[in-house]
Symmetry: C2
Subunit: 314 residues, 2 copies
C-alpha cells in the first residue's frame, strides 16, 4: 500500500489529491487553491498543495494544460502563459526533493481512465475530454503515445474541415473548433440567429452573444426538440473526429470525459449513431464502445498521481 500524490494545474485552480496505488479510483484526500499569478507563485502553490497532502513525499505527478516536453518543460500553455518555457519538473524537484512527473493534463486523464476508469484493462484506448476545448490522451499497446517531443495526442488540432472556422492555432477547421464546448456554442449561435433555437435563446436571456453550450445542454435536458436536433448535428462532428482516431489507431474503446458528457444520453446517443456510420470497417470492430469517462473532474489528478508513482519506479 503506497500513497500517490497527483496535482492538476488549471488556469483558475490547482487541485491536489491523494490516492492509494492499489485502488486509485478512490480519492482519499484533496486540497485545492486558486491558481496565483506569476510562475514562481504557481510553482510555490503546487509545492504547498503537495506538502499539505502528504509528508514525507515520495512521488508527485503533475498534469498541466499545454505542451509538456519530455524534460517536463512547458513549451506552450495558452491557459498558463506565465509558465511558458518554465522547466516545471526541475523547479518542483528543487522545491519538493522527491521524484516529480509532469505531463499534459489530458494525457494524465487518459492514463487515469486506462488504469482505474472506463478504459481499464483495454490496451488501446482513445480518451478525449470535451470542455471549452478538446483534450486527448492516446493509449496504444498499454502505453501513452508520447511521441518524439512529448507532445503526442493533440487531436483537438487535427484538421477535419479545411473550409471550417479559423482556430487560434493559426489554421482552419481544427476538430476543437467544431466539436468542443465552444464549438457547440458557436453552432448554437448560428442556428439561433436563423431563428431555430427559441428555448435555448430564451435561457441565454434572449442575448445571442450570451448563448453558450450550457444553455443548449439545459434546454436538451428539458426535452426541447430544437436543442436535441442541435445536439445531434453537433454530435456528428464529435463522432467524425472519434472515427478518425479509431480508423488510425484501432482503439478498443473510446472514452469521453469533460463537462459536455454531463449532458448524458441526449449527446452520447447521437455520437454513437454517427460514429458507427463514420468509422472505417465498423463491422470488423463492432465491439468498440463509446463510453463516458468514470473518474469525473479528478481524472487528470488521479492519472497524474499514477504517472508520478510510475516515474518513481513504484
Amino acid at each position: 500500500m503506497s500513497q500517490l500524490i497527483g496535482i492538476d494545474i488549471g488556469g483558475t485552480k490547482i487541485l491536489g489529491i491523494v490516492v492509494d496505488e492499489d485502488d486509485p479510483a478512490v480519492v482519499q484526500a484533496e486540497f485545492r487553491v486558486p491558481t496565483p499569478a506569476g510562475a514562481d507563485n504557481v510553482l510555490d502553490a503546487i509545492a504547498k498543495v503537495a506538502r499539505e497532502l502528504s509528508v514525507p513525499l515520495t512521488s508527485v505527478g503533475v498534469g498541466i494544460a499545454g505542451l509538456v516536453d519530455r524534460d517536463g518543460v512547458l513549451q506552450s500553455a495558452p491557459n498558463l502563459p506565465n509558465l511558458h518555457q518554465v522547466p516545471v519538473r526541475e523547479e518542483l524537484f528543487h522545491r519538493l526533493g522527491c521524484s516529480v512527473a509532469v505531463d499534459n493534463d489530458a494525457t494524465c486523464a487518459a492514463w487515469g481512465e486506462h488504469i482505474a476508469g472506463a478504459a481499464r484493462g483495454i490496451p488501446d484506448a482513445t480518451c478525449i475530454t470535451l470542455g471549452t476545448g478538446i483534450g486527448t490522451g492516446l493509449i496504444a499497446g498499454g502505453e501513452v503515445i508520447r511521441g518524439a517531443h512529448g507532445f503526442g495526442g493533440e487531436a483537438g488540432h487535427m484538421v477535419v474541415d479545411p473550409a471550417g472556422p479559423h482556430c487560434p492555432c493559426g489554421r482552419r477547421g481544427c476538430w476543437e473548433r467544431m466539436a468542443s464546448g465552444s464549438g457547440l456554442g458557436r453552432l448554437a449561435r448560428e442556428v439561433a440567429e436563423a431563428g431555430r433555437l427559441d428555448r435555448v435563446l430564451e435561457l441565454a436571456g434572449g442575448e445571442l452573444s450570451a448563448l453558450r453550450g450550457e444553455h443548449v445542454a439545459q434546454a436538451a435536458t428539458e426535452g426541447d426538440s430544437q436543442a436535441l436536433d442541435l445536439l445531434r448535428a453537433f454530435a456528428w462532428w464529435v463522432a467524425l473526429g472519434l472515427a478518425n482516431l479509431v480508423t488510425l489507431l484501432d482503439s478498443g474503446i473510446v472514452v469521453i470525459g469533460g463537462g459536455l458528457v454531463e449532458i448524458g444520453e441526449p449527446l452520447m446517443s447521437p455520437i454513437r449513431d454517427h460514429y458507427g456510420n463514420l468509422v472505417m470497417a465498423h463491422d470488423q470492430r463492432a465491439d468498440v464502445r463509446v463510453e463516458p469517462a468514470q473518474l469525473g473532474e479528478r481524472a487528470g489528478a488521479i492519472g497524474a498521481a499514477l504517472l508520478g508513482g510510475r516515474r518513481a519506479g513504484r
Copy 2:
C-alpha cells in the same frame, strides 16, 4: 547471421525476398510470380515462393494489402477479394511448417523503413506509401501501432474534407481520395477540363478520361509550369494529412514511399512547405523531417521479413 524470408502479396504479383537480419536493407535474392486466381492457388504460390528462396525455412513474414487481424486472418482485401476471411497465417503454417507472420503491407513497409531505411533509429515515425491509394504504418515508441484488432494505421481513410468526393469505403473526403495517385489524377482532370493543363493533357493523348497522375509527373519533370502548379496544389492535401498525423502522434520523422515519390523534389518540396504551415506547434518540433523512403518497392517485403523473424523470436 540469419536469413529471413519476406513476401509481399499484391493484386498482380507476389514478390519474395531474402535478407540477412544483420543487414536487412540489402536484398540477397528475390523471386516473383504473378498472383493467381483463387485463395488456394494464392496460398500455394506464396508457399512456392518461400521454398524457392530458402530450404529449410525458419521464418516467413508476409505483407498483404488489406485489414489483417491479430490472428493473421484477412478481414478486408479490396485487391485480393478471394482471400477475404481466409486465415492466411494458419494456412501458410500448415503449408510451410515454420513460424509465419502476416501483416498489412503498409505496416510491413513502415517497419522496414524503421529498422533499415529512412526512419532508422527514430522511435516515433509516420510512414506512408503514396500509390493508387495511401498505405500507412505508424510507429510509436519503437513499436508498430497495431490496435485492438490489428487494423491500426489506416490513415488513408481519415476524413479530411467532409464535403469532399465520395470514397469506395462509403464516406466522403477520405485523405486517400485527395492525396493518393488517383487523387492526383482526379485533380488533374478537373484542372484540365478548365483548360489549364495543356501539356499534361497532350501527354494523355488529348483524352481527358485517360489523364492520370503519371502524365502530371512526366510534365512536371519536363518543367511544365502548369503541372508544377498542380503538384503544389496536390501537395497541400498530402501535407494536410501528414500534419494531422504529426499533430496526433508527435512523430519524429515522416517517411513517404510509393510510386509518387519518384517525382522527387517537384512534389517533396511543396509537401515540406505546406507541412510546415499546417502542423501544430511547428516551431517546437522544427527537427521533424519529411523524407523520401529508402527501401523502394521492396520495403514491404523487407519489413515483412523482419516482422517474420521477430515473431519467430530471432
